[in-house]
Symmetry: C2
Subunit: 530 residues, 2 copies
Amino acid sequence: MDTSIQIFDTTLRDGTQGEKVAFSAEDKLRIAQQLDAFGIDYIEGGWPGSNPRDMEFFELASEATFNHAKIVAFGSTCRAGSAPEDDRNLNLLVEADTPAVAIFGKSWLLHVEKALQISAEENLGIIRDSIRFLKEHGKEVIYDAEHFFDGYKANPEYTLATIEAAASAGADTIALCDTNGGTLPHEVAEIVMDVQEKIDTPIGIHAHNDCELGVANAIVAVQNGCVHVQGTVNGYGERCGNTNLCSLIPNLQLKQDFRCIPDENMEQLTALSRFVSEVANLNPDIRQPYVGRSAFAHKGGIHVSAVMKNEETYEHIRPHAVGNQRRVLVSDLSGKSNINYKAEQLGLELDQYGEHAKEIVQKLKQLENKGYQFEAAEGSFELLVKKMTGDWEEFFTLEGFRIIVEKNVSGSCRTEASLRLKVNDQLEHCAAEGNGPVHALDKALRKALHKFYPEINDMHLNDYKVRVLNEKDGTGADVRVLIDSAEHGKSWGTVGVSHNIIDASWQALTDSFSYYLARQQKEVHQKEAI
Amino acid sequence: MDTSIQIFDTTLRDGTQGEKVAFSAEDKLRIAQQLDAFGIDYIEGGWPGSNPRDMEFFELASEATFNHAKIVAFGSTCRAGSAPEDDRNLNLLVEADTPAVAIFGKSWLLHVEKALQISAEENLGIIRDSIRFLKEHGKEVIYDAEHFFDGYKANPEYTLATIEAAASAGADTIALCDTNGGTLPHEVAEIVMDVQEKIDTPIGIHAHNDCELGVANAIVAVQNGCVHVQGTVNGYGERCGNTNLCSLIPNLQLKQDFRCIPDENMEQLTALSRFVSEVANLNPDIRQPYVGRSAFAHKGGIHVSAVMKNEETYEHIRPHAVGNQRRVLVSDLSGKSNINYKAEQLGLELDQYGEHAKEIVQKLKQLENKGYQFEAAEGSFELLVKKMTGDWEEFFTLEGFRIIVEKNVSGSCRTEASLRLKVNDQLEHCAAEGNGPVHALDKALRKALHKFYPEINDMHLNDYKVRVLNEKDGTGADVRVLIDSAEHGKSWGTVGVSHNIIDASWQALTDSFSYYLARQQKEVHQKEAI
């Protein structure tokens, strides 16, 4: 039995139908190149007939090199009453200049009669003619049988007749679509099994996640004979999304005998997922299976102490197999084992008797009550531990700052920060302009510190996140600011909480600089000691 | 065949082991009361032996009234070598004063020998003795067989022996736990079927979502004989979370012949989901099946025009069945049908010839490129349409504002806004202090407008969200501010984008006031016309 499964990615087409998902043509090209490198077989790039951006993508793609993947243009069967050669949409598909095309047609008799308002037989003709036309133009044709499962449940004979028409016209693959995402796995199993018996053409599955079963339905389809799976990175897609390839691929390949991508690429899965969410400018879902930041994060005290002994106890696969990593979270649910693990990981020394760990757990609880979170702010956590264990000297102290934001009648906005800072007993008084208040403050702080610590030029802020706590209080609410900073590929997070967004930003900003300076100092000491 | 399924909610216990999920004892009580009203059978409140907050919850719960649900205290079997009556943990379970308790014990021989370091037989004794002790104290006992599926795959005989021990000691329900979340649906089906044949005690399933199969595994378990399902609201829980009850319950009850909650409560599902995410202070997942904001949101032009004709075309259930609603999104993927639908919904008049709709689609595309999003900012969308169709007069114009934020050496922070605004040709010059810059601006704006439009006292800001776009630019990035405002239960969203967070906030803030004033004016006109 051949266990290799074709993976058909539609992140760039169905994915962009998800709310808040949008890509430029260049974004699409960057993603397509990553998908190709990862070993995806088919990359559906968009619908050339529907918008100019997608046309632009196919132009860019036709000039780019893909080592493995086939680029696919998407469209529909031709309009009722027009011959394929006169159909604008089909002609644009041909012109998109891709080796493969995917076209969808109607499977559900109700829709044929109500929506298209044509006869059952006419619809079969449209399917046949459209596919034949594309085959005559040398295309590999994937036929998407829209609403296949709903159609089958209503009228199996007619629905089967539509894909028999597609098969007889030479479709290379027939993808059974659960367009509304409402079908359950046992139904998918039965229907796929029936289709398998009746059609010789290779069949595929296109599932949606409206019942939280997008991955399960694809698995059961494969187990019952589908050899082609359509899905998206991170499960992006219309409504609740599509089959999530980031879960499907490891489920098929690490846990069953199916083969989707080259084994050696599996460790790139987490990077692929995060790359796509970054280009989409969406926050990654921390709970996402396999690739999420929390997927191997242990919070409960018992889990932590067990995982420290034997990872198999609470991990279903090795995190590294998909390029992810284990994390131990510190929170008020933490036992002392979390604090000890974390301290060891960070190279911090705690007393042997557990007194420090106990005090730190209490302090964390207090701060988390106020809205602080240290799970993504390891820099601030480390400073907290150092301050509590007496292992800390301030690099600078604030004497005061003032920020002025002015908007005038012309609409332009000007921001200035002035800052008085004590560094090594010297008072530094600096001012800077910025795009916004935090940017101005960041620049002023750098000016004040630069003379004493020129190494701050090597660090930069990577990411700045604002989260309104008690949101119901509107603009008077508390805010939490998380800052991610980096220097030569090493990154760290810091946190601040306040009524005032500027003050919260100041806390996170100064923690970031302090953490960095302390680390630099330590490295210098270590070098001197050698 | 009895098709009723016991629903066991562990949002308050396993849910809080998820990253970023934390509840106070009072939060837990509020959630428990909502779960009870919704018709959940069992509510696991926490682990009285593990932290003082959970103890406090059980005290609060014992004084509260629950009409339907049984409150459950969670803990483990007694420690090796100690008699149940001397075991602190078991005694705290008894003292928690709940009708039911859930205790977990070891099923996997490897763990018994490696982690507990006791003999196979000794572990069986611990399970039996712990359950007997709790039964003697009159408790209903749910036995959680930890790592059941992994244990079964390694050594079915011993794993079955552990639950036979639990059954013989009088456990009322035995929950088979896929603790690491790594089991696939076909494995769950086979193993549950085998257990079913061998054990008379009612069995349940406790699944995790590490393979994105938490819901699928629970469904297949129920289809093969489990009568009790453990899960959490929104799927919160350790690592990737637990079986999501918000998907499981409608999957079982709306699509199959199982019964979980009273039919008439199903319409409260969306409200329950959002309530819990609000108390957890987490943003709801917009793509969440059934209850997410996007679950019935249509973006692609074709979908929109089809849904407008016949909702069955792209919706697997009626959104109202779970208390959710259909949405049509406006974006640069929108066809003119989205704009027309939206305009109709908002009561806006467009020209018959589609010229307005075309211009609006183009403008949207331009603004979305800059980072605006109108999907959650219907207020700003409406203003945009009115301005573009010439149906708009400004209520006020900005002459300028200045914001000063000062932090002094004592650490306290002071914010003041001064504002010059032209309202009805009069120049208003106002100043106000606030918690932060946007709060101060909001207050100053109200002062300036109040004399002309006293009705602004009735509206308030509900929610304030900041999203850093191009995040990689750190504190110099563009930001998008979304504001939700409300007046007597009606709410609307507005948006602003700028380099400067204050300027973006100003845009969203003034859109909110303008939208509100325009709506008030229209209502007055309508009343006068009668």
